[in-house]
Amino acid sequence: MCLAIPAIVQSIEPGDMAIVAIENVRKRISTALLDSVSEGDYVLVHVGYALHLLSEEEAQQTLSLMADAGILEDELDEIRGEASCDT
């Protein structure tokens, strides 16, 4: 829960939302905490919200660190796991 993961913004949606991609996972997240976001920006995503903007370099570094440390997959699972919220 404490972790945040870098993602690239693929499209902006109405209502302060955006579709982002993290590795091969696509996710609809909120951008309500940022002043402005555009397609192609890198953002740090935490519990479904973009917390701040990142440089591409910082994003890539963080992703490869998470992969090295073996925590990337766990995070992606958590992000994929929407099982409990569709009812």
Partner: protein, 380 residues
């Protein structure tokens, strides 16, 4: 070496280790508290402690949100689901934490309570929309990184006129906790941990900025260095702390300039200020009652406050007997000094919150600490 992960840049790590060894003056000890569970994790995973000279010590702090939530609040959440029949939504980390009588959310769920793990407050809102006939409570925990998402959810609920959504708010404040730890006069038996400086949290500081730590650093004359999550960030921050201690400085420095600014994310701060106000005091596991250390929902938003909507019974909440979580969180005991550690208490069968969350100190010791050679002293 038997660490889980190698440094990405071993050479840089070695260079930093050598500089730290040179800078750390023999004849004095350096105790640095890493506040945040993410740093605890990095320190263990990469064996950072073992790259430090023998007189540089890490003290693990209370920066794991699940760990500092007192049992009473978890018991309250159980009551919301079980007695009030609400759908209780919460982040996954919370599910296995034992409450009074070792009752956890996951057990209550198995017994039929409607408790749902969510990834985001947005999921909790969705559940509320899809279940108009039920009360839906979001069990909100966490430091300043999870507070803005809760604020946004309350704002959305208000704008949509959601009548069945409330938040059980347990958000706590990092700088206040740091100040409290330093004002250790108030500490319970066992005495304060000796602390010469702090590694400040990464993402919390991205939200609040570095400014909020300045008062505590100045008042208690202790340096704070905001550190990134990379093990190399941690090492560089330790070097910055040692330098400050040697020079008799007690400033807030920012190692993680890639992400953290002095003012932080002001939009997020404004959203939080709009929905929340300070609580007079709040109970922390391990620290006890701390003045103005947590947030509650403003009266203007009381429709969305579970504490206003539901009456919560008085209860006699108790920790699992002999769990040393409170002392571990204050930094006065190591997990291995708890007699349940590794025998009765393991991540599969946790007795305390510090073993549940991977950010918790007990879980970190369990996962990585055992890999260290028992007889080995810290060699650079």
């Amino acid at each position: 070496m038997r660490y889980i992960s190698e440094f990405r840049d071993r050479k840089l790590a070695d260079t930093l280790a050598a500089r730290i060894a040179r800078e750390a003056q023999p004849g004095r000890d350096y105790h640095f508290m890493e506040f945040c569970g993410g740093h605890t994790h990095a320190i263990f995973r990469y064996g950072v402690q073992d790259m430090m000279p023998a007189n540089v010590h890490f003290v693990h702090g209370p920066g794991c949100p699940v760990c500092v939530l007192p049992v009473r609040r978890l018991d309250d959440a159980l009551e919301l689901a079980e007695r009030h029949g609400a759908i209780l939504c919460t982040y996954g980390d919370m599910m296995r934490v034992p409450g009074t009588g070792r009752r956890s959310l996951i057990r209550a769920k198995a017994d039929g309570a409607d408790i749902r793990m969510v990834y985001s407050t947005l999921d909790a809102l969705k559940i509320a929309r899809n279940n108009p006939g039920k009360q839906v409570v979001f069990f909100a925990i966490g430091f300043e990184t999870t507070t803005p998402p809760t604020a946004v959810a309350i704002e959305i609920a208000k704008s949509e006129g959601l009548e069945n959504f409330t938040v059980f708010c347990n958000h706590v404040l990092t700088p206040t906790a740091i100040g409290y730890i330093l004002s250790s006069a108030d500490f319970a038996p066992g005495g304060p941990a000796r602390i010469d400086g702090f590694l400040g949290p990464s993402h919390v500081s991205a939200v609040i900025g570095s400014r909020p730590y300045e008062a505590a650093a100045e008042r208690y004359r202790k340096p704070v260095v905001i550190a990134g999550f990379e093990p190399l960030d941690v090492m560089q921050s330790v070097l910055m702390l040692i330098t400050q201690v040697n020079e008799g400085r007690a400033e807030v420095e920012n190692q993680y300039t890639r992400v953290v600014t002095r003012d932080g994310n002001q939009k997020a701060q404004a959203l939080v200020a709009k929905a929340f106000q300070l609580r007079k005091s709040f109970e922390w596991r391990g620290l006890g009652s701390v003045t103005e250390s947590a947030l509650r929902i403003r009266p203007e938003y009381e429709k969305f406050d579970a504490e206003t909507r539901f009456e919560l019974a008085d209860k006699q909440s108790r920790e699992v007997k002999s769990c040393e979580c409170p002392s571990v969180l204050r930094g006065v005991k190591k997990p291995t000094e708890c007699k349940l550690f590794g025998t009765v208490c393991t991540p599969d069968n946790p007795m305390g919150a510090c073993m549940v969350s991977s950010e918790g100190a007990c879980a970190a010791y369990w996962s990585y600490g055992r890999l260290r050679d028992p007889g080995k002293t810290d060699a650079a």
